[in-house]
């Protein structure tokens, strides 16, 4: 039991960073509330990272434990690379939110609750036997009890024409107003947002603004609030920034790649969580000439993309785990006909339908091996919401330059998470070359290859004199005609694999951070970068100069220098949100190393503390 005294007198405390979590019913607007707070803080100059955590049900039964929707944001004047583990402030709009999130609140820290929601009925739904606000179970926390629903109703009693539902729905803005005051943030950005978002409905703008301001002044006036905090802007590289979510960044990366390469962009997709928002973003940009097809199923999405690629577009399809399984045969077709194709897989908890809204890294082996026959493709993985832009661009570049499909892996965590992004101009992105052949020449063959990359040349329908056929039957090594010759099949199998291997010459080497050599090498890949970086950095600051971090963005092929990096450390631990799929890949590829593992399969990202404990054990 914690006996630390709680100081109830207001004071201003200067903080380095703070972690806040907003929780409520899935209809309570917690995602909007969290997004507004993080955007406002980013514009103020803080570094931020966010983590939305919501149920698969759109409007789960009100007040239920499984219907709780949450949004966590970590802001600071220091470098922020994860949304953080335990929170400094929990805003709970109902008992279910409190019950399911209390464990995450640091002892002695603050909880704001809407007391109006703590009715008998809601307590029962949250399976509380007694009211936690009365029974002393929260005595280790600073609990700020506010009757937010009543205060919201009171604030809006003079707004004529507003229905009761709209009034109650704006109570999240009361909470946001309070939090803005507590952390010394202006309400300007959010009011501007209301004006834009609800421009056809002035009544809603008025109501939300009023409630936001009421919450803000309520916090200022009431002595209930123990502290006001101040977090100064972070030191970030100069430039123009915006807040970006991983899914948006992927969409924009493809737009940039299409412009840079001069290809028209074709995007086909079938709705699936959590990948849908990439498509939802791209369809907004038909003004750039983007061609989009919401297909009848996952297979039609990938095969129409293959058709579009055959006809000379940069073709993209996006999905999540179950959809990748359905696309498998078609990816094999794109692979054997050696056409460009990007398949984005935003991984979620599996197998089968699994945990659609939760994160996991368990599609790595499916991406590598989930097709019939010998069917290697390029696999790369984004590792932060912001670098989703770079890796979408890179996926497009590699597929066009190497004439083979690319699977780009993301995951629910970085797809929905957001961070500041120092905006890159298309002019600053690398050039993209291609293998298109425009003129018929004598002795031309569809399977003539670039001698360095082994990419075959690309004759696009509409080009006179280069008419040819491709298909899923094994191809003759030169003409591309059907061939059942045994030696040819072996030759083609090997050359398709060799082509992927040679991509090594076109990708960066693996870098190690914090230490180039030492006692422990922490290995990760994809969306866990922020968690691993934060933990190794903290250990570094605690004096552990013997721990290095090597994070992989390139899975197939692996960077050329991988073995050299592995050799420089005494122990290696591979950390993944699965049971050890990348560890298996490393084991297959590199003999003589012991790959220790740290795995988590809870649909959640790694916590800082669990990683630090693990790493400390290994170097003591």
């Amino acid at each position: 039991m914690i006996t630390a005294k709680i100081n109830h007198k207001p004071k201003v405390e200067v903080l380095e960073a703070v972690i806040i979590r907003f929780v409520g019913d899935s209809g309570d607007g917690m995602q909007l509330t969290g997004t507004q707070f993080s955007d406002t803080s980013a514009m103020f100059g803080n570094d931020i990272a966010t983590f939305p955590n919501f149920p698969a049900e759109i409007r789960a039964p009100q007040g239920s434990l499984y219907g709780v929707s949450g949004f966590q944001v970590h802001i600071g004047n220091v470098e922020i690379t994860t949304p953080g583990d335990n929170v400094d402030l929990l805003v709970a709009m109902n008992p279910a939110g409190l019950k399911t999130n209390l464990h995450a609140v640091k002892p002695g820290h603050t909880i704001i609750v809407d007391t109006d929601a703590f009715t008998k009925k809601n307590l029962k739904k949250a399976e509380y036997e007694s009211n936690p606000l009365d029974d002393g179970s929260l005595e280790n926390y600073r609990v700020i009890e506010v009757s937010m629903t009543s205060l919201t109703k009171e604030a809006l009693k003079d707004v004529v024409g507003l229905d009761n539902k709209s009034i109650i729905r704006s109570k999240n803005m009361f909470a946001l107003g309070m939090v803005y005051w507590m952390y010394d943030r202006s309400t300007d950005h959010t009011i501007k947002f209301f004006k834009k978002k609800f421009k056809s409905n002035p009544l809603i703008i008025e109501a939300n603004t009023k409630v936001l301001n009421t919450g803000y002044y309520f916090a200022e006036t009431m002595e209930l609030i123990p502290n006001a905090y101040s977090i100064s802007p972070a030191k970030m590289a100069p430039g123009t920034y915006r807040i970006i979510m991983g899914n948006t960044a992927i969409a924009w990366g493809f737009l940039a790649a299409a412009e840079k390469s001069g290809f028209e962009l074709f995007v086909a997709s079938y709705p699936i969580t959590p990948a849908s928002d990439i498509f939802n973003e791209l369809v907004k940009h038909k003004h750039f000439g983007v061609k989009t097809l919401q297909a009848e199923d996952e297979i039609a999405a990938v095969t129409s993309a293959i058709g579009a690629s055959f006809a000379g577009n940069l073709a993209i399809t996006m999905t999540s785990g179950p959809g990748l399984a359905l696309k498998g045969e078609a990816i094999g077709l794109a692979m054997i006909i050696e056409m460009p194709l990007v398949v984005v897989n935003v991984q979620r908890g599996g197998p089968s339908t699994g945990l659609p809204t939760k994160t996991e890294q368990s599609d790595l082996l499916q991406s590598l091996y989930g097709r019939n026959g010998e069917s290697p493709v390029i696999i790369i993985a984004a590792s932060t919401p912001a670098n989703c832009f770079d890796f979408a661009f890179e996926a497009a570049k590699l597929t066009i330059e190497h004439m083979t499909p690319v699977i780009l892996l993301s995951d629910g965590y970085i797809a929905n998470g957001s961070t500041p992004w120092k905006i890159k101009s298309v002019a600053d992105m690398p050039e993209i070359s291609n293998n298109i052949i425009n003129n018929a020449k004598e002795n031309w063959h569809p399977y003539d290859r670039n001698e360095n990359t082994l990419a075959r040349n690309w004759a696009i329908p509409g080009t006179p004199g280069l008419e040819h056929r491709v298909g899923g039957l094994e191809k003759d090594r030169v003409s591309g005609n059907v061939s059942y010759i045994p030696e040819n099949h072996e030759y083609m199998t090997k050359i398709r694999a060799e082509k992927i291997k040679r991509v090594q010459n076109n990708i960066p080497e693996l870098v190690t951070e914090f230490a180039d050599t030492g006692d422990l090498l922490v290995i990760g890949w994809g969306g866990t970068y922020g968690s691993l970086y934060t933990s190794v950095k903290q250990l570094q600051e605690e004096g552990y100069s013997n721990i290095g971090l090597a994070h992989f963005n390139y899975i197939n092929p692996l960077p050329k220098n991988t073995e050299d990096v592995l050799k420089r450390f005494k122990k290696i631990i591979v950390c993944e949100l699965n049971t050890g799929q990348f560890a298996k890949v490393l084991n297959i590829n590199f003999n003589g190393f012991e790959f220790l593992q740290h795995n988590k399969i809870q649909g959640l990202p790694f916590g800082n503390n669990e990683l630090i404990q693990k790493f400390k054990q290994l170097v003591k």
């Binding site: 100059g45 097809l293 039609a300 078609a330 101009s425 899923g472």
Partner: protein
């Protein structure tokens, strides 16, 4: 000025150097040659022609055409072709498929491509059997049909291709026997002219696994009596003696004989393929004695690519963005000094 003239082709220009590997006596040879003869009549450039197929005997077709082509995967040709056409609407895109490929494994793509009305031509080789896998019943096989996978007779009732297609909003549907190349060539040409998805069902004999499956309709001796070949704007007359016709009696179509019971040619239905309401087209597909061949439905409508093109043009005129940077640097951006 850029020349858009199309050079004079013959069927040889569309014949590839690959040896044709269908069974001797297969109607597929007839269809291949009909297509190679139809293409020079269409006014399209050879380099703009693309054949896309799925899997099955019929799907080897693209290898034998000296055009661009892709032999895809089972059932997916309509989806692949959709991507081809949307990527480059200038291309003349043909889907080659069979009854198993399009109606079983590819059933979903089949109905959706028709619904969307993309300007594609789909040639469905219906032989009521799986040939390449050596003789299993297909979604168009008859009840009772004995096959490798139904040794005691098929118990699954079949699809009717035309009825299914029109139910799925097909704007163009034609049907033709696999042994009538002249009419077939003409229908191919008409389907290319039609803007929208054209579906042509070919009653194709498989001499190995389902020999004679359509002989009662397509046999030389019987076909004039057993096929009503419809033409838009013309009365529905058939028969060796051209003395039989179709009238509407209540909610049924009825076969009548001109000159009997006071029936004259004036009493016969006149075929209107361009009618939006498909009721009569569906009724024509349901009669069995005779069956109806020719272009049964040809209703002009906007294509998907026309709708998309219009939308893109409108979005372009509504947008202030011309370059991707305009988007990247728009909205809530902020400076760090």
């Amino acid at each position: 000025m850029k020349s858009t003239a199309v050079k004079e082709y013959t069927y040889k220009d569309f014949t590839s150097d690959q040896e044709v590997r269908w069974c001797p006596g297969c109607d597929d040879y007839v269809i291949l040659r009909a297509m190679q003869k139809a293409l020079p009549e269409m006014g399209v450039k050879k380099e703009d022609v693309v054949f896309i197929s799925g899997i099955g005997c019929s799907s080897r077709f693209p290898y034998y055409m000296d055009t661009y082509g892709m032999h895809g995967i089972h059932g997916r040709a309509p989806a692949i072709a959709t991507g081809v056409k949307l990527a480059n609407p200038n291309l003349s895109v043909w889907v080659i498929t069979g009854d198993g490929d399009s109606l079983a494994i590819g059933g979903n793509h089949f109905i959706h491509v028709l619904r969307r009305n993309i300007d594609l031509n789909i040639i469905l080789f219906n032989n009521e059997i799986y040939g390449l896998t050596k003789g299993q019943f297909s979604p168009t096989s008859l009840v009772g049909q004995k096959t490798k996978s139904s040794p005691y007779g098929n118990t699954q009732p079949p699809f009717s291709v035309g009825e299914l297609a029109i139910g799925a909003q097909a704007r163009f549907f034609g049907r033709i026997g696999g042994n009538t190349p002249k009419e077939m060539t003409q229908i191919f040409i008409e389907s290319e002219k039609f803007k929208g998805t054209s579906l042509i069902e070919i009653l194709q004999n498989c001499p190995i696994y389902n020999d004679g499956c359509f002989t009662q309709y397509t046999g030389k001796a019987v076909r004039e009596d057993m096929q009503l070949f419809v033409e838009h704007g013309k009365p529905m007359i058939f028969g060796k003696e051209r003395d039989k016709g179709i009238v509407l009696n209540g909610l049924k179509l009825e076969v009548v004989t001109i000159g009997k019971n006071g029936i004259t040619q004036e009493d016969l239905l006149v075929h209107n393929a361009k009618e939006q309401d498909p009721t009569l087209h569906q009724m024509l597909l349901r009669i069995k004695n005779p069956i109806v061949t020719g272009i049964i439905r040809s209703f002009d409508d906007l294509t998907l690519e026309e709708r998309d093109k219009e939308q893109i043009a409108e979005e372009k005129s509504n947008s202030n963005f011309t370059k991707i940077d305009d988007l990247l640097f728009s909205g809530d951006i902020y400076e760090v000094e």
